[in-house]
């Protein structure tokens, strides 16, 4: 079946905090706005149990916060499609083209807010045990570990929040982290006070073991150089993120870390193409800065469109 050709003022790639904020602003400016998302609406925060550093909310789940933002964006006319996956983009052409499985979208502006994906565990056995003891979504898979022993890998806020959340199911949780925690002090104190959690800093998982599903891990103590085997029923991996820029690598300049190079105005080297949120190379990546980027990109996109249309 031939793909349907549709014109849009703005196509926003990614429905996380940056993308949905851009959609809200673009919608309020009466721009014909489409948001495409192939993963979860909300991006990295879709699975966040509790967010305590977003202004105006003492504590809110990622799902709840993003649900409000999605409703706001849709209320002002933005359309969000989470089932039509992008196959390729042509950003230098006029009009710009975003081709999905079912459509060819022609548009004047593209806002890239494709965010980050969780980094996979870099061990050869990962593929064998993925979903069979190795997990990346505590909210999705935590329920499988009622009264079991699990490990959480990572030392940032997301990892420590995951460990705290998983204590609602598991009997015991190891936090395995290769250096010192990067999480904020409040979050660190929470895990340190939790009697179900045992913290193992300066350690690294070297091997996954099990028949059919994960049964134990070999852990290297980086101080002593000793390997020890620990029985675990599952591990939740939270060892950082990598930018979702595969689609754009032939079109835009990327930084060494794979993020899109764009200034604080979110403008890339291609006119009418903006990068917003964590996918943009910048020093601070927070929910608040993602929202700020979404705002900036949408407002400058409107100026660009006005100039284009005379």
């Amino acid at each position: 079946m031939a793909k349907k050709i549709v014109h849009k003022d703005i196509v926003i790639i990614g429905a996380g905090m940056a993308g949905l904020t851009a959609a809200l602003y673009a919608g309020r400016m009466n721009l014909d706005t489409l948001v495409l998302e192939s993963g979860l609406i909300g991006g990295q925060i879709a699975n966040a149990v509790s967010i305590e550093n977003y202004p105006g909310f003492e504590s809110v789940s990622g799902g709840e916060l993003i649900g409000i933002l999605q409703r706001q964006a849709e209320k002002f006319g933005a359309v969000i499609d989470e089932f039509d996956t992008i196959e390729k983009v042509s950003l230098k052409s006029t009009p710009k083209i975003v081709e999905t499985e079912e459509h060819i979208y022609e548009c004047d502006v593209v806002i890239i807010a494709s965010g980050m994906n969780r980094r996979k565990l870099p061990l050869p056995e990962e593929k064998t045990f993925a979903g069979r003891g190795v997990h990346y979504c505590e909210m999705c898979d935590g329920h499988m570990y009622q009264n079991k022993v699990i490990a959480v890998m990572g030392g940032g806020n997301a990892a420590l929040d995951a460990a705290n959340f998983l204590t609602k199911y598991a009997e015991k949780i190891y936090i395995i982290h290769r250096s010192q925690f990067r999480a904020d002090e409040v979050t660190q104190q929470r895990v340190k006070k939790n009697p179900k959690i045992e913290i193992m800093l300066q350690t690294e998982i070297k091997k996954l073991n099990g028949k059919g599903r994960l049964q134990s891990v070999d852990i290297l103590d980086k101080n002593s150089g000793k390997l020890q085997n620990i029985a675990v029923d599952g591990i939740f991996v939270n060892i950082g993120v990598e930018p979702n820029t595969q689609l754009f690598k032939d079109e835009l300049k990327l930084s060494d870390s794979g993020r899109i190079i764009a200034g604080e105005d979110c403008c890339t080297e291609i006119e009418g193409v903006f990068a917003a949120g964590d996918v943009r190379e910048k020093k601070i990546r927070q929910l608040t800065t993602a929202a700020a980027d979404g705002t900036t990109a949408a407002l400058l996109a409107e100026k660009y469109l006005s100039k284009l249309k005379g």
């Binding site: 979860l40 699975n47 989470e82 979903g131 909210m139 999705c140 898979d141 329920h143 499988m144």
Partner: protein
């Protein structure tokens, strides 16, 4: 009848259900957190209790949200 093993707070489960809704597919929801029998049936089918799991005949199943596989299994 299409069955979806899932639970309320699971975002990928909700994505599967939203996709079926968008295609007008009727389905039964089997909650693995609220109902031990459903959890046991899911484990019997897949060998595990990871969700979402979609099945039409209690033999062939799809674990996770995989649009191409769902389309193929349901003839969408």
């Amino acid at each position: 009848m299409v069955k979806v093993y899932s639970f309320e707070a699971c975002p990928w489960c909700n994505k599967v259900k939203k996709y079926l809704d968008s295609k007008g597919v009727e389905y039964e929801v089997h909650d693995v957190e609220l109902n031990a029998e459903d959890a046991a049936a899911c484990e019997k089918l897949t060998g595990d209790t990871a969700v979402p799991v979609l099945t039409v005949d209690d033999k062939n199943y799809i674990l996770g949200f995989d649009k191409a596989k769902i389309d193929a299994l349901l003839g969408l």
